[in-house]
Amino acid sequence: MKGKPNLLQGLFGQPDDLPAELKNWIERELGQPVRIFAFCDLSEQFRFHQGFLVATDDHLIIADATGQNGHFRFVPRTFPLKDIEQLELIEGLTLHRLNVVGRDDLGLLAAVFFTRRQRRAIGNLMFVVNQRCKRLRENHVDDHEFDTMDDPTRAYVDSIVQAIREAKGLTLLQDRSIFRRLLRYLKPHKKSVIVGFTFSILLTLLGLLPPYITRLWIDDVLAPAETGALTNPSFWGWLIIGVLVFIWGTTQLLEFFRLRIMSIVGEKISTRLRDELYQHLQRLSLSFYNQRSSGNIISRLISDTDRLWDFVTFGIIEFVISVITIIGVATALFFQDATLAMFVVLPLPVMGYMFYRFSQRIHGMYLRIWRKWSAMTSLLSDVISGIRVVRAFAQETFEVRRFHKRNVDVRTAAFDFHRFWTAFYPRVTLLMHLSRFIVWAYGAPRVLQHILSGGQEGMPLGVFIAFNSYMWMFWGPVQNIGNMTRTFNRATSSASRVFEILDTAPAIVSKRHAPKLDPLQGHIVFDNVTFSYDGVRNVLKGVSFEVFPGEMIGLVGPSGSGKTTIINLICRFYDVSDGAIYIDGHDIRDIDLGVYRKQIGIVLQEPYLFRGTIAENIAYGNHGATLHEIVEAARAANAHEFICGLPDAYDSMVGERGIMLSGGERQRISIARAILHKPRLLILDEATSSVDTETEKKIQEALQRLVSGRTTFAIAHRLSTLSHASRLLVMEDGRLVEQGTHAELLEKEDGVYAKLHRIQAELQSMIAV
């Protein structure tokens, strides 16, 4: 986070780092570096305040601030880790509490308080300290255990900022450099942009001409013609008409080219942005997706890129044009009559401010209507989906009343909205008329004077009329500039969301020249593997096992025991936190990932079918498969028969808005997909848990064909499903507690597996009764 030294200070008014004096004090007094720290934003009296919780190798330090107005002094209290039994987190609604529990009879040593905002940082600290305390207790100290830890300041800042990053996108770039980076996308289209820009400027200048020509027509043709001073009035008349026609024609032509060129550039830019984003998204590891909702990512890809194209191609140019127009018109006016020009130009800032306020306020109105509207639509979709329940409980009247209330809310908000904008425009027009009144009040007598004096003094009629035309040319640009802050804000916000993704480095990449395991033998070793998704809680703790080619391994254990994590690690969706995984004797981090993954087949509990035909779905991952192979795979998956029974057979559309398939049918299609894939390593994640017994039998048959001869990992809740497994690994709380064949494990009377088996058997017999 070096790019923004005061990130947290700016965002939350919270320090970005340990105060230097406190850090120095700790390092001087305790002679140890700070390993990890967190901020405590609540006092014992439950008031917002400043406090730090710091851990070194052997000490825990609590430092509360005393003093005020930014002049804090930190009073540290030090606790040796060897006196601490554990740190204990107690969650509340907003307030959280961390108890420092002493060993033996020491009881509660201290407690600190903080809000949810600090939770992640405190959680990290708690985890680290608890591990350390445990090791100290067991006299099992590893002096280097902290050596792999992140930089404490970075870890702390990251943990606080993550919530904002998810919602808003936080690049390290300042607003101005975001803007510059955006402009870089225009570079490949330099020529078009320059042409578009020149045309825009030309257009603006051309737009200034007609009023001036009108003036020439009145003052230099009409007036002299009347007095007979002009010898050839009709020639001059036609010339002026000709020039006007030429200007109008050119204007339309330029406008046509400008719009066309810039729209094309815009489309090209947004296509490029979308492509870049999508390519990058495909490279990012799953941990990135875990931190963000898919809706969030999709909206960055679609609406943010769209906003950006609009801004880059039209927003910027419109802004420039507006500025040029205002300057141009103002200059034209000042040249003709400085005093009158003053009268017209002075109200412009007021007008700009009015438009600015209006745009702020109208967006507030939109938000309000949106809120009401979404309350109504969510009720609607809720009730329509649950209509059977409504009927069953005879709640029709209640629902009608509830809907009516929200409907009325929408109307009220809409009324406010209409009342607001209908009142606004007349007010602006009134201001415009006021300007016009001033021009008339000031100009008309002078025009008269000019005529009466025979052109000696006062204002020529042409100037007056030109003035009137020019005046109207102000309002559009002024309105544009008033709206501009919002447009700029929206664009930088979108850009920072887009760039944030582009700037995220994939956590998992293959090394260059990594060995390609082809064909994969399927020999897998877990060597003391520890893993944590969040860097805090270990979901696997020192798991070791070895699997030989062709074995079928059943993974058993309660939910949350780490079964799926093992599979995620085998696929290398994540990298281990500690220990290592060896595939055919190579560290999984050293092998070519693409070649490896191509040889893995996965059947998930909730099979995902993409939009497309059944045939396309079976061939996903093997795009070159022949129809013959597809049918063979479907046959092996026990899917051929039901597929042929569908009206469109293999050409039936599935996925969103496709035909409805049952869970078992979709499962068999996904098995066919895996069979066609001819994986060397097969993973079955609860493949049969959501289907009835009859279907399960069919799926089991299909799976048997699939499993034979391949290294297989299968997770199942129903232990009976795993009866064919060569070995079972029993997981509990992140540890591998038992392994062996079904029969071996049953022999252990107190064993976890034997217990699980008994419970399931009892359940089965209960259902049978």
Partner: protein, 160 residues
């Protein structure tokens, strides 16, 4: 049971009580307090649970507990668990396109927090609104209509 229940704070700072164990003795269990209706019925409906979430006692009214210290400790504990800063004044509410940035004064001091644009504040049936920020921290405006006019002016698009 609630009538005779005696609670104390143990050495590690937890609420605890003693219940008979299997061998005619007493064993200490630590208690955790939960309100069943924190928003719709803040007084009463209190559940006391052990570490594993099993209910040890349940009352609809706090005075069902006969012991005064017990009542006091429970109230104290609830106050901590349900700590909820009340917003007294809004200094700024900036629309940052995807987020709102709030700069407020609460009864617990000044605070800056962020809400998602699409996060709709929760209106309580007893009045007032709960605002949840992006970290999940909650803030309470008991009577939005009685805030000072500047605060209300800032709130208008967010609430009504």
């Amino acid at each position: 049971m609630p009538k005779s229940l005696q609670i104390y704070r143990n050495k590690t700072g937890h609420l605890a009580t003693k219940i008979p164990n299997d061998h005619d003795g007493l064993k200490e269990i630590e208690l955790f307090v939960a309100k069943c209706f924190p928003w719709s019925q803040p007084d009463g409906f209190i559940s006391l649970r052990d570490k594993k979430g099993r209910e040890i006692a349940f009352v609809e009214r706090l005075d069902e507990f006969g012991d005064e210290q017990t009542r006091r400790l429970i109230e104290e504990e609830l106050q901590e668990r349900l700590f909820l800063p009340r917003i007294e004044k809004i200094d700024a509410l900036d629309d940052q396109i995807d987020l709102f940035r709030w700069k407020v004064k609460t009864d617990a001091g000044a605070r800056i927090f962020y809400t998602r644009r699409r996060e709709i504040p929760r209106e309580l049936s007893k009045g007032g609104v709960i605002i949840k920020d992006i970290a999940g921290d909650r803030y309470y405006i008991p009577e939005p209509e009685n805030l000072d006019s500047r605060s209300r002016e800032l709130l208008w698009m967010y609430l009504d």
